[in-house]
């Protein structure tokens, strides 16, 4: 009852060498329901394809079997051929007699016999193929960018400029990320705020960007093109719609909290903005340090605010956001070096980590840009220790890539702002970016001393109290160096955010051994992930400098655009469907599906499958006891028929 056309490909000699293709075609002709059986040198070539189109029209074929290379190779090609000839593209079966037959045997008898068996199986299966039309769903045009650092800002601006609506979600009370904490950036030494704050403002002004600070993603539902994401808007206790940023409330506040922005080098008020150019420039109240929340009285800021913007009863609220694609740009954290007791971080006041030093340099920082030690004195000699926690099997095996360069930047700024001698304890000076080597040479000329040997220990100097001693070996001379210094800077390892694994679980991503987000392919798809429609950019994927981060932000924006620029999207047709007559309502499918596609309809007491969520894996079809679920294109009877055909000879 079906009219099958079998087309055997020689693939030049690739197949013909160990499979007698003409004999295979003759064998095919003898099989029931096979109307046309031909062999040709190159089926995937244009003449080969035309031969199929003509035969379909001439013999009114309704099933096509192409016996050639792997379906993973040319299934799409031949599906297009069927569509071109007016036949439904799913009425096609590919028999793999190249990768799995001709290339894996030298014996032409064996090869031909196996090819016949595989072809016979395909004929049994072809008889039961049904035409399928892939569903088309509409795509939500908006995009969400999680993380308001330079990567998130750049991606958001790119997308907004194309006219797309962007939701920028930032956990902190201001966007800007770590870059906003820096004073200068290498290698050009241009001021970080100068190049970043204009972008932050354009994000604020941009009509297409909805900036949501003090927000976190709490739940992700839906699928590519139709994500339904719940955002938790953390209570700020200040109504930003009323506040006009006069900041008079911050003057009166008695509360004392450690300033996270200044890496807890200094205290801040309970109601505060992290730094002057914060965007939005509106304060929030920190519950832990606010005396009202702690003791129940004060409310000075409320009195000071003419706009009546202070609202102590504010609660966390949840906002539902629908988007078509998501870019994760959640950035990095600096490793906590307290466990490395040999360096005395947290024990000796003279030991700083990299971000603390960045804040020291920053004019908006705790010391207004003056480089002073915690006791206020100016350091006379400074040691910068590279690779602390990085390139270390016992801590983080990866190289954090940017420490060499920012260490060099530090030494320049130290030389500029103080009269101190600056020493570097390094293993390799990695300056591979554009203009990096030149920057390194410039720093050498600024009379900075480089000791080739990893810092082994920092101790308090026995004879000069308050000073530190760095112990290391200068491997070039082989000498053991004990260097008395006033200040030690640890260029510690860059690690993923503390909550990176939770975000990965929310967006169904996997993370690598170190905890960074896993890209789909390290070389060919560095910005997309295994979850359709979720892209990554910046240090959350692996440590990188600002130029690479921005480049990745552009890339991720482009990838997100490929999805949201189309308003329709074709879904895979090989999804599953429930035959309600046979469904006994056991809900096994609902329990097992990783995508939540099946749902139980309580009145009809049967399950239904949302084909948009279904990925076509067929798990529900195999757990269904009354085999009521039809996994299109891999239905039970198609698989059984193919098995029967394979086992016949």
């Amino acid at each position: 009852m079906s009219r099958i056309g079998v087309f055997v490909c020689h693939c030049g000699l690739n197949i013909a060498k160990t499979v007698r293709v003409s004999e295979l075609a003759e064998f095919a002709a003898t099989l029931p329901d096979v109307v046309v059986a031909k062999d040709y040198k190159f089926m995937c070539s244009t003449p080969g394809q035309e031969m199929i189109v003509n035969d379909i029209k001439q013999h009114k074929l309704d099933r096509i079997i192409v016996t050639a290379c792997s379906p993973l190779m040319h299934e799409q090609t031949f599906r297009k051929v069927l569509t071109a000839s007016g036949l439904n593209q799913y009425l096609l079966t590919i028999v793999n007699i190249r990768e799995q037959v001709s290339w894996v045997t030298h014996d032409i008898e064996e090869g031909t016999a196996k090819a016949k068996a595989l072809l016979n199986g395909a004929v049994y299966r072809a008889r039961l193929l049904a035409p399928l039309t892939s569903r088309v769903i509409d795509v939500n045009p908006n995009v969400m960018v999680v993380g308001g650092g330079i990567a998130g800002i750049q991606a958001a601006l790119e997308l907004a400029n194309t006219g797309k609506k962007v939701y920028l979600i930032e956990k902190n009370s201001t966007i800007g990320g770590h870059m906003a904490q820096f004073d200068k950036t290498f290698p050009t030494l241009d001021c970080s705020a100068c190049i970043l704050t204009p972008k932050m403002d354009s994000v604020l002004q941009h009509k297409n960007i909805t900036m949501m600070t003090s927000c976190e993603v709490s739940e992700v539902k839906g699928f590519v093109g139709n994500f339904d994401i719940t955002i938790r808007q953390k209570a700020r206790y200040v109504d930003h719609s009323k506040c006009n940023a006069c900041l008079s409330c911050t003057e009166k506040c008695p509360g004392k909290g450690t300033s996270e922005w200044d890496e807890s080098l200094v205290k801040r008020k309970a109601i505060y903005i992290p730094f002057p150019q914060a965007v939005p420039q509106k304060p929030i109240i920190d519950k832990e340090s606010c005396t009202f929340f702690k003791k129940g009285k004060c409310r000075l800021c409320e009195k000071a605010c003419e706009q009546k913007a202070i609202d102590f009863e504010q609660q966390d609220t949840f906002v539902q956001v629908k988007v078509g694609a998501v870019i994760l740009a959640t950035g990095f954290d600096l490793m906590d070096t307290k466990p490395l007791v040999q360096y005395g971080y947290g024990k000796y006041p003279g030991v700083y980590n990299a971000l603390e030093v960045e804040r020291l340099f920053n004019s908006a920082g705790p010391t207004g840009g003056k480089v002073t030690l915690r006791d206020g004195s100016e350091p006379k000699s400074i040691a910068i220790l590279h690779c602390i926690g990085s390139r270390d099997k016992n801590n983080h095996e990866h190289c954090s890539r940017v420490c060499c360069m920012y260490s060099l930047k530090f030494s320049h700024l130290f030389k500029e702002k103080t009269s101190a001698d600056v020493y570097h304890f390094y293993i390799d000076m990695r300056a591979a970016g554009k203009g990096y080597e030149e920057f390194y040479n410039r720093i050498i000329e600024e009379d900075v001393k480089f000791i080739r040997g990893k810092g082994a220990r920092v101790t308090q100097s026995a004879d000069e109290p308050g000073r530190l001693v760095v112990e290391a070996e200068d491997t070039i001379t082989g000498k053991f160096i004990k260097l008395p210094v006033d200040m030690v800077v640890l260029s510690s390892a860059i690690v993923p955010r503390a909550d990176a694994r939770d975000i990965a679980r929310l967006f169904n991503l996997s993370t690598d051994k170190q905890g960074f987000f896993m890209e789909r392919h390290p070389k060919l798809a560095p910005l997309s992930t295994m979850s359709e429609g979720i892209f990554i950019a910046g240090a959350c994927q692996s440590p990188k400098d600002i130029p690479d981060t921005v480049a990745q932000a552009y890339g991720a924006a482009a990838e997100a655009l490929t999805i949201v620029v189309k308003d329709k999207m074709e879904l895979e047709a090989t999804t599953a469907m429930v035959n309600p007559a046979s469904c006994c309502g056991c809900q096994n499918c609902v329990r097992v599906c990783p995508y939540g596609a099946p749902s139980y309809n309580a009145e009809k007491r049967v399950s239904e499958i949302n084909e948009a969520l279904c990925k076509g894996c067929g798990l529900c079809a195999s757990v269904c006891p009354s085999s009521a679920i039809i996994a299109r294109h891999f239905t039970n009877d198609q698989v059984l028929a193919e098995m029967e055909g394979l086992m016949e000879f």
């Binding site: 309502g585 809900q587 009354s626 059984l640």
Partner: protein, 288 residues
């Protein structure tokens, strides 16, 4: 002290009358008179007057849990449950076929039920070997203790030690007896699928004729469908007109599931059925 069946019958009647009287439940599933004393029948009492026909004797070993799925969702049902039947109820609750709040479970702790055909005492050899119901609201008699607790899987030793050829011959002989009346499927509280996979014609998993390969496909697939769900009540073997010892195979699969997944069927409401669940650290040794 062997609990007298009469006492349980009286308690069952009083409870049933009370529950129906106060219309806490719309039906009571219990046991009623059959065509003679040693052939009682499952009985549904719908109003207090029906309660008089309720009986309880040593032949009332039907698993009433299988009738629960027959009534529309939400009907308040009281059901008399012995040890294995209570596990069946738990398993049905786990699979959300019935809700715990719709059920009033009348627990019957009992020892000494007899198989109507052979008149032998039913024990761990053909059932799960428990005597007290695992879950109940009202207990119709004090718990049975002091009976020899033997693992329900001891009876498997003889079959497991058989060599492969002998065991295949044994099962082929048994499955060739099958006349495909599907009494085992209908007697099983866990087999509530209607239509069952074997009734399907597209695809046709097995032939309708009672040949050995059709029977084999039917029985082996059913054993798989009950893996981690069978509560070892032995009803299927007792319902079989040609006495195929199906309980043996179900016990073997239940034992394997317990060893591999560390979970016995129908023992706690919080469990999830074994084969619709997974542990990332399931060991690959299962597959050796």
């Amino acid at each position: 002290m062997v609990i007298s069946f009469k006492q349980i019958e009286e308690k069952l009647k009083t409870e049933a009358k009370r529950l129906l009287g106060e219309s806490q439940v719309s039906i009571v599933l219990a046991y009623g008179k059959g065509y003679d004393e040693n052939h009682p029948m499952p009985y549904v009492a719908r109003n207090p007057s029906d309660v008089d026909n309720i009986v309880f004797n040593e032949y009332c070993n039907y698993n009433l849990a299988r009738y629960l799925v027959r009534y529309p969702a939400g009907t308040k049902i009281a059901v008399a449950v012995k040890a294995a039947d209570s596990r069946a109820v738990i398993q049905l609750i786990q699979e959300e076929k019935v809700k715990r709040e719709d059920l009033v479970l009348l627990g019957i702790p009992v020892y000494g039920m007899k198989n109507p055909k052979t008149h032998e005492i039913i024990d761990g050899k053909t059932t799960g070997g428990l005597y007290n119901p695992v879950l109940y609201d009202i207990l119709l008699g004090d718990e049975v203790h002091g009976q020899a607790i033997q693992s329900p899987y001891d009876v498997l030793a003889a079959y497991e030690s058989m060599d492969k050829e002998a065991r295949f011959a044994f099962w082929k002989k048994e499955f060739d007896k099958c006349i495909r009346c599907y009494a085992c499927r209908k007697a099983c509280p866990m087999c509530y699928c209607d239509p069952c996979f074997i009734d399907q014609t597209k695809p046709k998993w097995g032939d309708k004729s009672p040949q050995s390969h059709g029977n084999l496909m039917y029985h082996l697939t059913r054993f798989h469908h009950l893996a981690g769900r069978c509560i070892d009540c032995g009803e299927c073997s007792r319902a079989c007109p040609v006495d195929i010892p199906l309980y043996l195979f179900h016990k073997k699969v239940a034992k394997a599931c317990e060893e591999m997944f560390g979970q016995a069927a129908g023992m706690s409401i919080e469990d999830k059925p074994a084969l619709v669940n997974f542990r990332v650290d399931d060991s690959d040794k299962f597959l050796e």
